[in-house]
Amino acid sequence: MASQSQIYAGAFADPVFAAQSVFRDLMEGFARPGAIKQLSAKSTPPAPLGAAAGAVALTLCDHDTPVWLTPSLGKSGVPQWIAFHTGAAVTASKTEARFAFVEKSAAFPGFDQFSLGTQEYPDRSTTLVIEVEALTGGRALTAKGPGIKDETEVAVKGLPEVFLEFWTANRAIFPRGVDLVLTAGEELLCLPRTTRLSLKEA
């Protein structure tokens, strides 16, 4: 069981302004897919949730957004931390979740197991927040799509081999599909469902 100090501490020192600045970072991140954003506001969630992932939770989650957690996050102080600071409840159902959090090097389920939205309401899909080893230095992928002039390189380190396959399948069901926030420590990078990824030719 998590200690009280873990659950009640570690939220934004200045909740309103911090949430506004992280919201701005996320908005810009989704407007410029693949761009790395250093978050200006700090949070220290219970391990193993990362700092940027914690800031995303504090900014976007609330009572109306059920959250799915990986088994190891579920066993940590994270569910209580999220519940206390955001009001969001943890759900075991991936399709009910509006947000899903995955800690570093954890296995994550196929994107199609989460809510993909409907043709009428594609916005009702899950947003996944996945912690990776680093946002640079990994296998180079070419990203194209809205918000990207011509093309850009995404070289995230610590994503499984199967990621590209998952993402291509996600891209194929547009306008439905999940959106991704990849986090590493205090940085994040957004991949909206509109972004097309392919292996960069050597």
């Binding site: 069981m1 009280q4 009640y8 501490a9 939220a11 059920p66 569910p79 209580q80 519940a83 206390f84 600071h85 009001g87 409840a89 943890v90 759900t91 009910e96």
Partner: protein, 156 residues
């Protein structure tokens, strides 16, 4: 709608539940007076709030059937930590954040052996006032009780 069921920090605590209910109904004057009366005022650190938000109030269809959403009510809440480590929560109807903060402080103080008596005195005062008000309202209502009697129609 899913339930926000979490691992319980402590088993349901009837005494604390009752105390929090009374603190929610304590007036600002009662809370301030009890605070002023404390010989040793603790250091209080904010954890969450004080903040005002909404709670969706639910009713039941037919009074006892399945629930439905009736409408919202303003709620103010605060969570504080005393320097001795106790965490206190205060939450009450209305937009008075000062009352919520003081209620949280007394919820935390109630967990300290040394302050228990002070908190109990405040709770007793609030409980007595509420009982008096309730009694008075019930008596005023009782005075408006009627016994209708049916007139016999027609000739006998």
């Amino acid at each position: 709608m899913m339930d926000a069921k979490l691992k319980q920090e402590s088993p349901p605590d009837p005494a604390r539940k009752k105390a929090m209910g009374l603190l929610a109904r304590a007036t600002l004057d009662e809370l301030n007076a009890a605070w002023e009366a404390l010989a040793d005022k603790p250091d209080v650190h904010p954890v969450r709030g004080p903040e005002t938000g909404l709670v969706m109030v639910r009713g039941r269809i037919g009074g006892g059937g399945d629930p439905f959403n009736l409408g919202e009510a303003t709620v103010s809440r605060a969570t504080i930590r005393l320097s001795s480590g106790e965490i206190g929560h205060g939450q009450l109807l209305g937009a008075d954040r000062q009352r919520a903060r003081l209620a949280a402080i007394f919820d935390a103080l109630a967990q300290r052996e040394d302050d228990r008596a002070n908190v109990d005195a405040l709770l007793q005062q609030v409980a007595d006032r509420l009982a008096l008000e309730e009694r008075r309202n019930a008596e005023e209502t009782a005075a408006t009780r009627v016994d209708f009697f049916t007139m016999v129609r027609g000739d006998d």
